[in-house]
């Protein structure tokens, strides 16, 4: 088991290095001279030349990349062009907020999506199933930022139940301000999870071992959980893993709508200010987070499905995403 984990981890490293290279390369194409951005319009030619040399911006691309990677290993992601603060510090300050938002959204997705999917599957073809699936389809089709705005209109402006901006203070304050962003971010995922749960459960429901369980006299509720759901989990877990990537992207939008002080909003503002190191650092950080989540999901597979555990099969989330 531990061999499996280490192996997966080792496979991750070259991929992440590739990520840093590609993103670095893409962002290096950004037009505009960073030096002028930092120093402003009143910079003298002398200062420009000095800073350029200091930042090493005249060096060839590969050299700059190498330098960036060396610094990255030391935990130094450079300094913002806009405010000269450490990029790494700014990221670490804001990432927990994005993380809270993402976790809350996943919880929304699971708490709503899985029960809905189970009920739909057990009551296939009834009006309940049809209604749920139509709602799920609508949920999957809604732009995240639009849902956020609509929720603000209804719950903040009209009903005045929940705040519309920012992150609150104290436990209850944070919780209250988390509701709308988490729901708007999680709704699409909830719909996706519901659909996946339903289709996975339907596959399991027609399996012979369910007949065996019924012939034993097992209660229906026990059958649903211990026999059906446990077997249906694998595709559901896969979907949740994929959803996490969507969520990280969606967080960017949600944080903008709700002025949530997270990494996504930071990144968007950095782009507008042409603060490339911040953008670079953010994208890399989020990609690493995404990859770690996928690794954890792989480990989770092995616990849920004994066939995988006993064979050390290296069928990974990546493999599933690739369609293997």
């Amino acid at each position: 088991m531990h061999k499996y984990v280490l192996k997966r981890f080792a496979m991750l490293i070259p991929v992440l290095i590739g990520v840093t290279f590609i993103v670095f390369f893409i962002l290096a194409l950004t037009p505009g001279d960073p030096v002028t951005i930092i120093l402003g319009d009143n910079a003298t030619a002398e200062n420009i030349a000095k800073l350029t040399e200091e930042l090493g911006l005249d060096d060839p691309l590969l050299v700059r990349y190498g330098r960036y990677m060396l610094n990255l290993l030391k935990g130094d992601l450079g300094k913002s062009y806009s405010n000269q603060l450490s990029v790494a510090d700014q990221i670490l300050e804001r990432f927990p907020n994005t993380f809270i938002l993402a976790v809350a959204a996943i919880l929304v997705a699971l708490i709503i999506g899985i029960p809905v999917g189970i009920i739909s599957a057990k009551k296939q073809y009834t009006w309940l199933d049809n209604t749920f699936m139509v709602l799920a389809l609508v949920g999957v089709s809604m732009p995240v930022f639009w849902l956020g705005l609509v929720l603000v209109i209804v719950f903040s402006l009209n009903l005045r139940w929940l705040p519309s901006q920012g992150m609150g203070q104290g436990f209850m304050g944070i919780l209250k301000s988390l509701v709308l962003p988490a729901v708007s971010l999680g709704a699409g995922s909830a719909a996706m999870v519901a659909r996946m749960t339903r289709s996975s459960m339907l596959e399991v429901i027609r399996q012979d071992y369910i007949d065996t369980a019924r012939a034993k006299g097992v209660k229906e509720s026990t059958i649903t959980i211990r026999h059906m759901l446990k077997n249906a989990l694998i595709p559901i877990i896969t979907v949740v893993g994929l959803q996490f990537g969507q969520l990280l992207g969606g967080a960017v939008l949600t944080e903008t709508v709700f002025s949530w002080p997270g990494l996504g909003r930071f990144m968007v503002e950095a782009i507008k200010k042409k603060d490339t190191p911040s953008v670079l650092g953010s994208v890399i950080f989020l990609s690493v987070a995404f990859s770690i989540v996928n690794l954890l999901i792989d480990i989770l597979y092995a616990y849920v499905d004994p066939r995988i555990k006993s064979q050390y099969k290296v069928q990974s989330a990546l493999g599933r995403r690739r369609g293997e």
Partner: protein, 322 residues
């Protein structure tokens, strides 16, 4: 001999978008304690539906038991509440299904799956249930240490043994086995049948064995019922039916088995196909395929009449009317 099970005039149908499937059409049968009934018929005859009907496991929707009674140990189990029926399943009547490869839950250990049926019906601790489960494993010839393994770690024949262990764990009076050896190799088949016979004798379990293999019937059954299009067309003791078959279908079945003794140029199949259960023929359901069919066979459905003692048949020709 005490009568364990009596099915009276049972009708089961499935209401689907493609039409109404008349799966079981007026079946009546009796089973004594300790004996084995072989239920023989081709695929599509309604054998599995009948078995599921006795267990009240016919999926509803779209299945419905529209008429009839099933008297088990003196009670009509069709009238039981679902909660009471659950107490019967696994404890008084057990069923094993056709394909052992897919009949076990892949994410539970075999020990847990056997212990589950014990925990439901008997007042034991979970430890006690697992102990009993291990005993059952030994009884079917699997080492008790393997209780912690998962189904995918066993071969087909061993999976079937586990399934039998689950079915017999609570010592049911009736075991319904739906083609228990069809999916297995011939050599394994013999082993499993043998084991089933021993256990059956040891625990005095009555059995309904569903099969399309006449060889299996001769090995294990005391009584035989021949099923066609949801009806029992002939019934009797093993000897009765094999020595003195009355129904043209029964004769057809025996005649289509290749003989070891004779050299033949062509096999003798029964001409035609099983009728479409959503569109059964009028009159005797076998008439389109029967070489003796006459006008009366096409218009009326024959009654079940006695041939000799308990040997009965449902056929105008056998009754001498054709």
């Amino acid at each position: 001999m005490a009568e364990l099970l009596e099915v009276r005039d049972l009708f089961i149908r499935y209401e689907t978008v493609d039409g109404v499937v008349e799966a079981v059409n007026g079946i009546s049968l009796k089973l004594d304690k300790g004996s084995t009934l072989g239920l023989v018929g081709e695929t599509g005859a309604g054998k599995t539906t009948l078995a599921k009907g006795i267990m009240r496991l016919v999926p509803n929707p779209p299945g419905k038991i529209t008429k009839g009674e099933i008297i088990f140990n003196g009670k009509d189990i069709l009238k039981l509440s679902e909660a009471d029926m659950r107490k019967v399943r696994g404890k008084e009547i057990s069923m094993i299904f056709q394909d052992p490869m897919t009949s076990l839950n892949p994410v539970m250990t075999v020990g847990e799956q056997i212990a589950e049926v014990i925990s439901i019906h008997e007042k034991v601790s979970s430890k006690g249930a697992m102990e009993k489960a291990k005993e059952m494993l030994e009884m079917v010839g699997i080492p008790a240490e393997r209780a912690e393994e998962y189904p995918h770690q066993f071969s087909g024949g061993m999976k079937q043994r586990v399934i039998i262990a689950i079915a017999l764990a609570c010592n049911p009076s009736l075991l319904i086995a739906d083609e228990p050896t069809t999916a297995l190799d011939v050599t394994i088949q013999a082993q499993v049948l043998d084991m089933m016979k021993k256990l059956k004798d040891k625990l005095n379990t009555s059995m309904i064995l569903i099969t399309h293999d006449l060889g299996v019937v001769t090995q294990t059954c005391d009584y035989v019922a021949i099923m066609y299009a949801g009806e029992i067309v002939e019934y009797g003791s093993l000897r009765d039916v094999f020595k003195n078959p009355q129904h043209p279908y029964t004769n057809g079945l025996f005649g289509s088995i290749p003989s070891l003794a004779e050299d033949v140029d062509r096999l003798k199949p029964i001409k035609g196909l099983m009728p479409d259960p959503t569109n059964l023929p009028k009159g005797c359901k076998f008439n389109p395929r029967c070489e003796y069919a006459e006008e009366i066979c096409r218009c009326q459905s024959p009654e079940t009449t006695e041939v000799k003692g308990i040997h009965v048949v449902k056929c105008f020709k056998a009754q001498g009317l054709v």
